[in-house]
Structure formats: C-alpha cells, structure tokens
Amino acid sequence: MRFSGENPAFIKEIQEMPGETQAQATSAESWKHWQEAWKAFYETVSKMWPQARAGMDMQELPAPWFEMMEEVRVKMQMEENTNIDPVTVLKHWYDTSGEKWSKAFGDAIVTKQFVEAMSSVLESYTSFSKMFRRACEVYFSNLQLPTRSDIARLAGLVVNLEEKVDRIEDSLESLGNDSAQVSTGASLQRLEARLGQVESKLERVLAALEKMEKG
C-alpha cells in the first residue's frame, strides 16, 4: 500500500495551499489513510482465517469457533459497502455469531464445573474483602480517625430516633382518636342532662297550664 503522503506532487500541492485549506486537505488525507489502513487490516485478517483454519489441528480448538468465524467472514465479504469501519465489522460479527456465543456461554454457565469455580472465586473474594475491611477498621481506629462503622453507628442512632418519633406520632394519633371518643361521650352526657332539664321545665309548664285551666 502506497500512502499518497509519499507522493512529491501531492506534498507540493499541499504546501501551495492557504493555511486553513492546507490543514483541511491534510486531515482529509489522513482520514483516507486511516480508512485504507483499516481496510488493509480487515482484508489481511479475513484472508488469514481460512489459512489458519487449514493449517491448524482442528482438535486443538473447538470447531464451532471456526464455523462462527467463517460465517462472519463470508457475510462480511458479501457486504457491498466497501467502507467497512470497525463498528460495522463488530456488528456483523455480533449479528452473525452473537446467538451462537450466547448459547455457548449459556450452556457453560449452568454447568456444575462453572458454578463450582465461581463459588470458589466468590468465597476467596468475600474472605479477602472481609479481611481487608477489618484491617482498614483497625488501622483507622489506631489513627484515631472515625471509620465507616463509627459513622454507621451514628447513623443507626438517628434511625432509632426517627423510629421513636414515629412511635410517638402513632401514640399521639391513637390518643387523639381516644380523646375524640371521650369528648363525644361527655358531650352526649351533657346533652342528655340538658334535655332532662328541658323536660322537667316542660313538665312544670304543663302543670302550671293545667292549674290555670282548672282555676
């Protein structure tokens, strides 16, 4: 591949351009270089795949890998658009082989071997984290600095306080309801007493009227 930057005529042409246009032309040229370089890389790699496949012992690597790679290569070679950027290649690769990879991983991650291995990794990780956390606690305590545990303890006190306020609120509410009932009962009693008084007054009025009628 010959880069046009090596062409003396092109260099002269660039040098004769005004500053801004020169910069633009140079960047356009470097963009072309980038595209060409990528294309060359892509072509080389796509040619290498079948060669690598032919030269290798198939038992060394799983066959599905090559099948997937072959499918991707064929599909990408069928692509009409020659301006293939890395993202397009990645997308082709994913569209072609994503499902197969998903299945391959899906099958692997439910095996007992995988889960056992993950379980050991997690156990080591949690043990290390626990040890590291404790060491940090001790270290900062020795430095007379507040640690996460100290802050958590303090925050815990605030949470407890909030809980107490909630309980007081609940108690006040129920007390409010109870006192509302008491005041309703007292009001009724007062009302009954007044009704009794009105009744006795009415009786006296009636008696007086009867007396007047007789008199």
């Binding site: 963009w31 997308k91 994503g98 998903s102 991650i109 949690t126 958590a152 925050a155 949470v159």
Partner: protein, 354 residues
C-alpha cells in the same frame, strides 16, 4: 469539493467515535423520573411519592406502586412518553410510589420484617390519608411484587381492593428457576459470606450476577446497539435512559439479602407456607382481593412457572394470570410495553377502581 466532503465525513465519524467512547467510559447520562411528584412521607431512606395529577382524577381507588429492594424505581417513570406512571396518571389514576431508597451501612440489619411489617403499612396509611380513599390498589414489580403479596396475606383486613403483580416470583423450585436454580443452590451460594464481608451486598455484585445470566447480550449486545444507534444517527434517548438505569444499582440490605436467598431461593418457604415474619405465618390463601399477575415469556429472572404459581395458592375469585411476549424489564418500558402491558393494566384496573 471531494476533500471537503471527506473532511466532513471524517469529522462526523470522529465525533461519533468520541461519543461512543465517552459513553463507554463515563456511562450514560439521561433525565429520568420526570413526572411531577411530591414526597408525602419518609422513613429512614424510604420515600413515598405522590404523582401530581395532570388531568381530572377519574378513579377514587389510588394505586400504590412497590418496587424491589434492588435497582432504582425510576424504571416505572423512565422518561416522558415512556413511563408507566405517566400513563396511569394520564388515565386519571391517583398514583403513589414507594421508593425504598439506598441503604447505608447502618441499614444492614433491615429485613423483610422491617419492610413489610413496619414500612409498608405506614406507607399505606399515609397514602390513604393523603388520597382520602377507602380502598387502594397495590402494584408490585419483581421482588416488590413478592413483598406486596406477602403484605396482602399478612394484612387481610387492610382495605386492599386490587393486587397487581408484575414479573413476581412466588414459587422458588430450583427446576423452574432457570439459571438461578443452580446459581443460588445452597451447595454453591452461602449468603452469610456476603453479609459478613460487606454488610449490605454491593449493588455491583448483584448487577454482575444479573448480567452474567446473559453475558453476551448484556455485556456486548447492549453496546453493539449503542454503536449502531450512534453510527446511523438514530435517537438514543431511550437507550441512554435504560443504560443509566441498568448501571444504577443499589446495595441489597444484608439481612434482607440473607432472607431472600435462604428463605425464598433455597428453601422456598413462601410457596410451601412456611414463611414467618416476626412469628406470623404468611398464608397466601388469605388473599381474597382481585388479583392480576403478569409475567414475561422471555423473562429469565422470574420464569413463568415461578409467577403463575400464585394462582394456585390464593382464594381470590377474581384472578387473572397474563403472559406477555417480553422480558423482565422490556415488559415495563418500550413500544411493546405500551401496546401490551399498559393497555392491559388500564383496562383491568378501570372497572375495579370505581
């Protein structure tokens, strides 16, 4: 002229690569949870939101949404035009959302007892007080659904009119749990080691475990989609919002994690009728209200048998189990959700909320 075109093309491509790289390194940023709301109650880190009406309220029965203890609840109100909350409010429902918040180290002791017996009843009380309603609908998503079902079973006298459960696991039989069947088995997973090491189990660990259930699609497919959107100049708002949510995990309160793994995943106590919260037996037969349970055919976190089992345990006469062609999250948001879940929810709730 050709050079100018080539330069423009280069600059455009470089900008796209810059954007993609930035997203990969810094993570997605998006405005989420934008429906207007007010906080009407708080307790510790929990918040009870009331979504302000945008139209005349047509239904006197308010909806209380309960989210899981992991991830953030704004998936229910992802972004304008792609929000279940916004949709329900626009139909004339009075909508509330209980956000459990982000637990701190001081909350590592919080268990399902605290959340279901202390927090949830108080949230219900404040919601009823605010809405002045006599009955309410409880809508739980994922673990929030399991918590809602337990609440309904423990408090049968609560004025619960409808129980809606989205992708809610009730039965935790290893053979029916897909990949989690082996991952969470007592042989390989000891929740105590996580709680002892971290207090609260870091959200990143929970997130990684969830991603690993579909490693290729979750770790690679998502970013292939991103590059595709960038390179073809397609709208990215939904992808950004979703990616922000996926990476925005919260820690799992230690004690609740221990219970979730041991009592639910490993011992299946809820379905077996052996789950006790502060000594109270959780008997799903005590659920008598109207129940709608919706699950996704492609959901690998809550499989169909795990969700459908509820129908066998409850005493409700009015009950329905619905299967949608969606995954665990796709059921809630996106064009498929609008067509299927949202319309179904609205039509089911409307006659039961009058």
């Amino acid at each position: 002229m050709a050079d100018e075109q080539s330069t423009a093309e280069m600059q455009d491509t470089l900008k796209k690569y810059q954007l993609g790289t930035q997203l990969l390194l810094e993570g997605a940023k998006a405005q989420t949870g934008q429906s207007p709301k007010e906080i009407i109650w708080t307790k510790n880190k929990a918040r009870l939101y009331h979504y302000l009406p945008t139209c005349e309220q047509r239904f006197p029965v308010p909806i209380l949404m309960v989210y899981a203890l992991i991830n953030r609840p704004y998936i229910l109100d992802l972004m304008p035009g792609n929000s279940l909350v916004e949709h329900l409010v626009s139909l004339g429902f009075d909508v509330y959302l209980l956000d459990w918040g982000t637990p701190g180290d001081e909350d590592a002791y919080l268990s399902f007892e605290h959340y279901i017996l202390d927090y949830l009843p108080r949230a219900v009380k404040w919601m009823l007080r605010r809405s002045q309603a006599k009955e309410f609908t409880l809508l739980g998503y994922c673990m929030g659904g399991t918590m809602s079902a337990i609440y309904a079973a423990i408090f049968p006298d609560t004025p619960l009119r409808n129980l809606v459960l989205l992708t809610t696991a009730i039965n935790f039989i290893p053979e029916e749990m897909g990949i989690y069947g082996i991952w969470t088995s007592a042989e390989f997973l000891n929740p105590d080691q996580f709680v002892d090491a971290f207090g609260n189990v870091p959200g990143e660990i929970i997130d990684l475990a969830n991603r690993m259930t579909r490693p290729v699609a979750n770790c690679l497919g998502t970013y292939i989609t991103m590059w595709n959107l960038i390179m073809y100049g397609r709208p990215m708002e939904t992808w950004l919002a979703m990616n922000k949510w996926v990476n925005d995990s919260v820690s799992f309160p230690g004690e609740a994690f221990r219970q979730w793994i041991r009592d639910f995943y490993q011992q299946n106590k809820l379905a077996r009728g052996e789950l006790r919260l502060r000594g109270q037996l959780v008997n799903l037969e005590r659920i008598t209200c109207s129940v709608l349970s919706i699950a996704g055919k492609k959901d690998h976190i809550c499989t169909l048998p795990q969700a459908s089992a509820l129908m066998n345990y409850i005493s409700s006469q009015d009950k329905e189990f619905l299967v949608l062609n969606a995954g665990h999250v796709g059921l809630l948001t996106g064009s498929g959700a609008k067509k299927e879940l949202w319309s179904k929810l609205g039509s089911w709730l409307e006659p039961r909320s009058r």
